[in-house]
Symmetry: C2
Subunit: 337 residues, 2 copies
């Protein structure tokens, strides 16, 4: 086992889109687990949009990452040494281990992964936080009914691609918005979306949405905000539900962005916009994972993972993800399984 | 009985704040009720913010008023002649009779008013549509719990003044936002609001709200939108409910107004913004009116009515209401009871 733990820390608070120089690769000794603790060798670490918010020094639902601190992140790893009887060397686990090669844990917030169920990397995607976000966000906040039209922004991302497929399972018409022709083709041809369009090559979002949603929009699952969301609001139907999951279009904004005032649409359409965090469904994670695993096994859910190799490349993967370079779930492969 | 029916019609579609010249006083013969119909002599007609929306030629939840058509409006009147056995001459009724001295109805959407319960004008206020809007909007959309902080904009208006009092009955801390020192004094000294401020003389809404809502905002009942609402959103608590009732700040806008993007706050706070129209609670009006009447009788609800005399002054009253000249419910007294 190496004696060195490569870690990525936050070197500076980004202004706008993060730069590689906002991060720093540091080396520290591999930590020793104390009584009740165990050592994890990281296999995969996650890069997710929410991390951008934690890089700002503002009060939010979770404390910000401090300068010099290892970037927090979900990760999948293998127990390498243990002084905790519940976790044995060789166990594959998922937890908030951060962008580093090794981590020590006492087991809080850590779950064991069954490698026979699916590739263990899926514990950070379809069978992890993004999958649960899609499952509870769509079903509990969006509440789609058969025959309704569901629009998903960020549709080719880790969450959006699952939202659309779950909506199809519910019997909905599903329209995806994504940033690339290949992404659009993937949504339509492989994931079964009824329609999708590339916002980067579409000039009039409103006209395109009206064309693809002839019966209006009953559920809007919003991952992006900004001008895409501006175009969806006027098309909502009476009683529509807008599940506000992310606003990635403005995560890099240095000052509050402006846009058309949207609340009036909610009155006219007796509609609801509701923000959520997956954590609010923590007591029901087991239910969500069970259903997602069953759909996956039945071939009703497809997923794609995209890997970069080496912990030193986590910042690059993260910055690329913020720019929409990924299709499906972006991961960093830290070491071989 | 006079042979002439004075009516106010829409003469032109307003641009921005309506002008008196957008309306026209016309005279027509008093109509004759046919079989199953009855004639109503109007006592009071209502002026309400929603009417501004109906003056625009755009699709909304109700069709627009046409040029040359009598302005639609709720009204209280007395049955003057009847060929409908369910409505007898002398009965006091409330219905959508419009800005005119006489109207004919077949009884659809008309309710009889008990003059012994309260002044019959209250059928257009505390015991009518504004009262029901406050009751259902606050309790069913806002869902306040004892001890929570409720903020109301347009707090001295027909709806807002009742929302705050109902919130007090529910055991909440109530903060009102209104446009005038006398309004603020009325809210605090007579209606029992815990705090209120005059937005016309307050430069920093955010700082004032933070001062008056030390525990944040759990329920925001929004009648106005615009910069006031912009200041409330950042103060909402986790799980907050925003009941979007009106957006009067932008009803006179010729083009869509812009403002800071607000949806992000809903995610961070797992909060909900929900628009509503009182009509969606139509099946429960009797329940709402019964409770409002009981609170009124018990002295738990106070209300104020402000009158102008003469149907010819309805446009002036309406324009004044849009500019916030009224405290409580603005009415037009058309004829003596």
């Amino acid at each position: 086992m190496p004696a060195i733990n490569k870690q990525i820390t936050l070197a500076a608070r980004p202004s706008g889109l993060p730069k590689l120089s906002d991060f720093k690769l540091v080396e520290s000794p591999v930590p020793e687990p104390g009584p009740g603790e165990f050592l994890i060798r990281t296999l995969y670490v996650s890069v997710d949009p929410y991390m951008r918010g934690r890089m700002n020094d503002v009060k939010s639902y979770a404390p910000p990452v401090q300068i010099g601190e290892v970037m927090g992140a979900g990760a999948v790893g293998k127990v390498a040494a243990s002084q905790n009887p519940q976790f044995q060397p060789g166990d594959v686990v998922e937890g908030f281990f951060g962008w580093q090669q090794f981590a020590v844990s006492n087991g809080a917030g850590v779950r064991k992964i069954d490698p026979s169920l699916a590739p263990v990397s899926t514990a950070l995607g379809v069978l992890g936080m993004p999958g649960l976000t899609a499952y509870f966000g769509l079903l509990e906040i969006g509440k789609p009914r058969p025959g309704e039209t569901v629009v998903v922004s960020g549709a080719a991302g880790a969450v959006g691609s699952l939202v659309g497929q779950i909506a199809k399972i519910q019997g909905c018409r599903v329209v995806g918005i994504a940033g690339g022709d290949q992404k659009v083709a993937w949504l339509r041809d492989e994931l079964g979306f009824d329609a999708a369009f590339n916002y980067k090559t579409t000039t009039n979002y409103a006209a395109k949405l009206a064309e693809l949603c002839p019966k209006g929009v009953d559920v809007y699952f919003d991952n992006v905000g900004g001008t895409i969301t501006d175009a969806v609001f006027p098309l909502i139907n009476t009683g529509a539900r807008i599940a506000v999951c992310g606003q990635i279009a403005q995560y890099n904004a240095d000052k509050p962005e402006t846009g058309p005032r949207l609340l009036w649409h909610l009155i006219v359409k007796q509609a609801r916009a509701e923000g959520f965090l997956v954590f609010q469904f923590a007591s029901r994670y087991a239910e969500g994972l069970k259903q997602m695993a069953a759909w996956l096994k039945a071939g009703k859910l497809k997923y794609r993972e995209q890997f970069v190799d080496g912990i030193e490349n986590a910042p690059r993967a993260f910055i690329g993800m913020l720019q929409g370079e990924n299709t499906g779930k972006q991961l960093v492969r830290v070491s071989a399984e």
